[in-house]
Symmetry: C2
Subunit: 465 residues, 2 copies
């Protein structure tokens, strides 16, 4: 493909993407395919010669569009919000077009400095504590690929601090203990495993009837671990659990952590962004007491995956855990300490210029339009709650402070209801289990979702019930 | 930004990217900025209202272009090849525009199935062993974000296999030993640290005068560790080291690993792609004996970062180390085992539809054009070698089988030479240390680099010497 072809194909692809997003409502939300169907429509072997652009466009319509879940569909109510803004799409195009590496400041200064600025802008917009800002004495922020990586990085920081750095050399985690509720995201357990802190040393803290962690239970677990000579190392407090949007009480949890010297990570991946609206700022209550915090613009803010924002109040532990400087990365700039080298803030070495999509979204869409969208989603969820309450075949099984409503059939098979609703192609829901019972998660978060979509989905559920 | 504005801005951005790439040769290769300069040109606080597209375009020219290293510049000779193809840029645009998640098959079947097909296509094009293919009994491949993540995933697989899975529960790595030469990539040491196998348990295997690992030294280290009751767990053999493009002798290393039951990972991140050309297929000698292998289309194939291809012959160990299935991810498709869920093949949960950029590059550029480019880079490097040999102020300090030439001043400060050359803005080199001596790495890999660029860079070095 030469430059002229790139221009022509690029213009066509911009319009193709615009047409796709404009028309996505006409698609089934999830595809009607079985494992292997997509692959069977494509050549088993690579082409011997270059193909024309038109053949790619054909395959997009013939194979790809009918083979994906349409996460941007207004009747998509599954998993978590993952709306994509137009500026964010342009940001990704720009990132790819520039093709730079941001592993060190010196490998592309603007990549690092725009990222640092975006973390400070977002800290201001979310009203996060001063100790997370890049100009604070000991904190700072970075874009991670996902909240899973944020959790792992927090665990590694905790592990480093609890052992005075010795774990880097001896790998000895045998006395370290971690704590989270059963409602915490699976990435906490996965991260502990990866970090060599086996699941035997994860204490599952009981939760109350709102599915929030019980700080008294945490305190007694930590007390008995301390008495046994163990080292409470890491606690995850979730603000908006994946299953039901429960909020662990961080102020009380933080008091327990402070006494024990444990690292407190606040995982607000799914809904921390709600704090862009002042009336929802309570979602971050207590984060000024945390050692680390993350939230995902790639969930509820319109910024394409991947864009997780991770802040820490203890950058020394992060750098202690992850920094490494081989000869082939040494440079004068790295030696002075005047610049941030984000490679030492993350698991991988290489990194894309991900700050561009956040920068473009804030500048071109503006924060007010995101506030309006978040408010609308919350209002739609509350309207839905009123409708569900009026139908006694259904039961709401968890608090619903924001945009997620968890419901179940009182007498009936909720999992079957979900499967039948999804099979129509008109909606997509996902499930979870709360108190041992399957639950339908009705998550409202696509930027184009209106009341008519929620209403139609609810009507479908009532018909199928 | 509304849909009409997206179309108009998108067309402008496509042309902006095309103009940028067409004109990149006129830029300084690296920017003339000090830490803080870029940030100082931007507002300290986020805008209160949306800004026009034109203001973003202005900032791209005013702040971003003069603030980055131009990795696509034909006189960029630093770090590693990272050329970006036009189809790959379009692939990223498409990925962002579709905005789907590929964490499970069910979250977007085509995202998973196109990826599996691309791994099989690439295994065929690189002539990799049958045991890596998705239809093999025990192997398979996946796109990782980077070779660092590939190394970590390999270490976690090794750790799982060596402990029969117990490490997931007890985190006990106290008897596990790992082995790599001092020339292995820093991600091996970082990965071992992350995995809770401290650096005390990394044996640095001596290398020979070509900077390749000595299998006899590996064998005696393993022998004495076995005698001491330790468990040789993980060996990294590098095909094309970062510092000097040295090749560890995998067939001999594999024989040692097989005897000891250690996991053998082959890291061919920088140059495994050369095997697309049959005459360079030797770069993968012995990989049929490895447990895992990675190479990076985002280095020498024109596919945008991030795109690392990771294959394993032992998918059970990978899944044992990383799979986790919370209730909120359960689905009928996941239960049958008929589909691949790539979330269990990687560190994070979420994943982008990265296979699109690889698919578009293979189809639209074609493999032949990539073969031609790789051959040209190798030829340019060999022509450079002849010139360097004719100037006795310089010395070539390592074998140069491909596109990297390591040289130094015989009597002079090589680091200072690099700094002075880079300060002109006409070229960019990076350094390493070999045998205790600073070395200039002359890496030839940008798709637009011709002999005149190499020649001009060499002329500059001679003038400054």
């Amino acid at each position: 493909m030469n430059l002229a072809e790139f221009r022509a194909s690029g213009h066509e692809l911009i319009d193709w993407v615009a047409d796709y997003l404009e028309g996505v409502e006409a698609q089934r939300v999830s595809p009607d395919v079985a494992p292997g169907d997509v692959r069977a429509m494509l050549p088993a072997h690579p082409p011997a010669a270059p193909e024309p652009w038109a053949s790619v466009l054909d395959d997009l319509s013939r194979v790809i569009v009918p083979g994906i879940v349409h996460w941007q569909h207004p009747s998509y109510f599954a998993y978590f919000p993952s709306n994509t803004s137009y500026p964010s799409i342009l940001g990704e195009l720009l990132t790819a077009g520039l093709g730079v590496q941001g592993m060190s400041w010196v490998t592309s200064p603007a990549c690092t400095e725009v990222e640092t600025l975006m973390l400070d802008w977002m800290a201001e917009l979310l009203d996060l504590p001063a100790g997370f800002r890049s100009d604070s004495s000991s904190g700072g922020g970075v874009i991670q690929g996902s909240a899973s990586e944020a959790a792992l990085v927090a665990i590694l920081s905790a592990r480093w601090r609890a052992t005075g750095g010795a774990v880097n050399r001896d790998g000895d985690t045998s006395r370290l203990m971690a704590y989270a509720s059963a409602q915490a995201h699976s990435s906490v357990e996965k991260g502990l495993r990866i970090a060599g802190i086996g699941t035997d040393r994860l204490r599952v803290v009981p939760h109350d009837e709102s599915f929030a962690m019980r700080p008294d239970a945490l305190a007694s677990m930590i007390e008995s671990d301390l008495a046994a000579g163990l080292v409470p190392c890491f606690v995850c407090s979730t603000h908006g659990t994946t299953s039901s949007m429960a909020f662990d009480p961080t102020p009380e949890i933080a008091a327990v952590c402070a006494d024990a010297g444990a690292w407190l990570h606040v995982d607000a991946a799914m809904c921390g962004i709600a704090a862009l609206s002042p009336e929802h700022r309570w979602v971050n209550d207590g984060v000024e007491l945390a050692d680390s915090y993350c939230t995902n613009p790639h969930k509820w803010m319109g910024v394409n995956f991947d864009c997780d924002l991770y802040w820490t109040a203890d950058r020394a532990a992060l750098l202690g855990a992850l920094s490494i400087l081989p000869e082939y990365l040494r440079s004068a700039a790295a030696e002075t300490g005047a610049a941030i080298d984000y490679r030492d803030w993350q698991i991988p070495l290489g990194r894309r210029f991900r700050a561009l999509k956040l920068w473009l979204t804030i500048r071109l869409d503006g924060i007010e339009s995101i506030q309006v969208m978040v408010r609308r989603h919350v209002e739609l969820a509350q309207r839905l709650v009123a409708e569900v309450r009026a139908d006694d075949r259904f039961e709401i099984v968890a608090p619903h402070p924001l945009n997620l409503v968890c419901l179940r059939l009182v007498d009936g098979d909720t999992d079957e209801l979900i499967e039948r609703a999804n099979a129509t192609g008109e909606v997509l829901f996902t499930r979870t289990v709360l108190d041992g019972t399957p639950v339908l998660r009705f998550s409202i978060g696509t930027s184009t979702t209106e009341w008519r979509h929620v209403q139609a989905a609810w009507r479908l559920l009532r018909e199928l019930a």
